[in-house]
Symmetry: C2
Subunit: 422 residues, 2 copies
């Protein structure tokens, strides 16, 4: 129980500071991996804070947390707002946490206004913390929102294993997150997520608020090369089947091919697992997580085929065997037009001319939108576009602008101001 | 206490089977990393077995174990025989363990012969298990023999850290290996090590016994590239400083350069540590352990300079910063001529025409020889030259041949049959 945070009420800066202390190490940002002890502490802080503010806490079987404000009664429809509390290893303070905590502050302010007779809601509101958005510890990312929206089967998600072979089911159990509580709210009429941009577009355009109209597609390919473990000394060079050499050639060729033929695609190889990873043993197996991101699925398909051919060539040259362990396409999302238009109007009414923009990264709002839940994604600026790094920063005045727009939009949605198309 | 093993006496096959069970997993060989729980179990088995056989167990501050047979009394000089009980991850059963256990069997047989009045030794004998020969968990390798022979300062060795940041001092302490016992024997007059070849030269020459005249040199370079963590999605490609891409180019160039200009050098990049190693974070830092092995130090120097230049180029191209974290040369060793000649004569007397040969890999005998302790290294065949792999195999008749030669050589040394040159 963190009573200082629980006492923070709707003071965003105060609760944000408390949350930012969980998993923080000097000079190394925040490490709050999904279903870790630190994630457990973040979940407890969120639940304490929200229940102290009058919310009922529900939790589904994948560990998504819902701080429920049952303003309009049992039969009424729901509005969700939130994001995620997990981070990358050595990540920043703002990515995810800002969206959850701003939604919590908005909810508390609206709740106070309702209690004071300021307006009469026709919908209920839940502030949501989605499980494992980051995909750092467990792949795929967007796990909690994927399960909630039906895109990812619950059992598949619970069976995911981290690099140490620990199932997500067991990791959640370890931090006391197990099983669904009663009264998890149903699919909402609308979902709203406030997030830091993680890029420099808003700053360049000199805008405080971005309304995301859609996202890039992402193709994520996990390639594994299998060779044969051998002594790095006496084993004749001709007899070696070196999986790390194959992976290195794969990574090098991947960048060269995409840079030459598809230079505007964003691309990365950022995770590599080697077995046995000893200086004296030729690598038996090397697994690399590749990403290609762009707007055009057909181009991702062409580029994907070219890089897989290069991976095969690397296998052939090194006497290793290639296995494509995963190859998934996250299609480009079009966020809900009408909800985006509403968000833009509200931003203007709050005094901020919004920038209509695209998101390169995936977000929980995208996972929900892609399964038919009308979702809005609102961006505020990231200083120098730095993301997934300890130096990630969003200025206080931008946080305030985001909170203002989010609160006004949630007020309108709670009053019944938007209806999903039939 | 493993009484079945302790009862094995000088039955090499029996005690070898017991040792081979420690750290074994089906289909995954043996994992008995230095100072791990499995290493602790192997040490206890060795100590129990030897003390049951009448030896006094001593241990020095780096955890080297000495099973001492004080045959000739306090003032007499010593002969050592042994190898190491640690393994690579998923390593084989024979590498190291065979040498320790064969030396133990030889000692027990000689002890029985002495007790029966068969001969009168003028020297004492210690069977030695050297700490962390493999260098899998802690680099550099040959840690225990390096400290004993004075090549590596004790405090530096105890401060070595594994990939998880655990100091060797603490890892040894965890398995109950802490501090020097009384009566660690002094530098020996001679050291003898029986080892599997880990190559195919003996088999090709149709010989059972190899006498090593010298070893290749090894240059071991640890290169670390530092870039900047960033989101793999929105971060513009031009802003990325990708340490894994740099490392992949470094590994690719390393192999290309050495294969083209120094094709007979053995070379490897087998360990790679990436931070933070998340699929969604451009790598901040990538550290690669490179090895170059050959006979000619001047050639290793030329090749080393060429590959470091290529590493710099990879850094320049990727906007990362290169740091050569370690760059060590293990010079080629010449084993003691006269001791090797004696080993050859004894092999012949035992009925085996020895092959005089070179070792590509380093061994504890090389570490001792390089600091002036006359050392002999005797090889027996490895099936298909397989090493550092679960399929590592040496046939029973070759083990018997090795044990026979080792026992006869130790008998002669115990009788005073060799003197170091002044």
């Amino acid at each position: 129980m963190d009573s200082a945070a629980a006492m923070a009420g709707s003071d965003l800066a105060a609760v944000f500071d408390r949350m930012s202390a969980i998993g923080a190490r000097p000079g190394a940002g925040i490490t709050r991996l999904a279903a870790s002890a630190e994630d457990g502490a973040a979940r407890r802080l969120f639940a304490d804070w929200m229940s102290r503010g009058g919310a009922r806490i529900a939790q589904d079987a994948i560990g998504n947390q819902f701080a429920c404000f049952d303003w309009a009664g049992e039969g009424a429809s729901w509005v969700f707002a939130g994001s995620h509390l997990d981070t990358q290893p050595r990540g920043g303070r703002f990515d995810g946490a800002l969206g959850v905590l701003a939604a919590g502050c908005a909810a508390l302010d609206l709740d106070a206004e309702i209690r004071a007779g300021g307006f009469r809601p026709s919908r209920n509101l839940a502030v949501v913390n989605w499980t494992n958005e980051e995909g750092a510890r467990y792949q795929p990312s967007l796990t909690g929102s994927g399960v909630f929206s039906g895109a990812l089967p619950l059992d598949d998600a619970l069976a995911l294993q981290d690099g140490a072979g620990i199932a997500l089911r067991d990791a959640l159990d370890t931090i006391g997150v197990a099983g669904e509580t009663e009264s998890v709210p149903p699919c909402p009429e609308a979902y709203v997520e406030l997030h830091v941009e993680q890029g420099g577009v808003l700053t360049e355009a000199e805008r405080r608020i971005g309304v995301v109209e859609g996202t890039w597609a992402a193709r994520k390919i996990t390639a594994a090369w299998t060779g044969r473990a051998a002594h790095t000394g006496p084993t004749p060079m001709a007899d070696r089947r070196d999986a790390l050499l194959a992976a290195a050639r794969g990574i090098t060729a991947f960048e060269a091919i995409v840079a030459a033929h598809h230079p505007h695609l964003h691309r990365s190889a950022a995770r590599l697992v080697i077995e046995p990873n000893s200086p004296n043993v030729v690598a038996e197996r090397a697994t690399v997580w590749f990403e290609l991101r762009g707007l055009d699925v057909a181009e991702l398909d062409i580029a994907g085929r070219a890089v897989i051919a290069a991976f095969e060539k690397a296998a052939l040259e090194t006497g290793t065997r290639l296995e494509i362990a995963a190859d998934g396409l996250r299609p480009p999302a079009s966020m809900d037009d009408r909800l985006a238009a509403l968000a833009g109007d509200i931003a203007r009414a709050c005094g901020f001319e919004p920038l209509v923009m695209r998101s390169v990264a995936g977000h929980d709002a995208v996972a929900l939108q892609n399964t038919g839940i009308p979702s809005a994604l609102i961006f505020i600026p990231s200083v120098d576009g730095i993301a997934h790094h300890p130096d990630e920063l969003t200025h206080p005045e931008d946080m305030k602008a985001g909170l203002k727009v989010l609160t006004a939009l949630l007020r309108q949605l709670a009053e019944g101001g938007f209806h999903a198309e039939p």
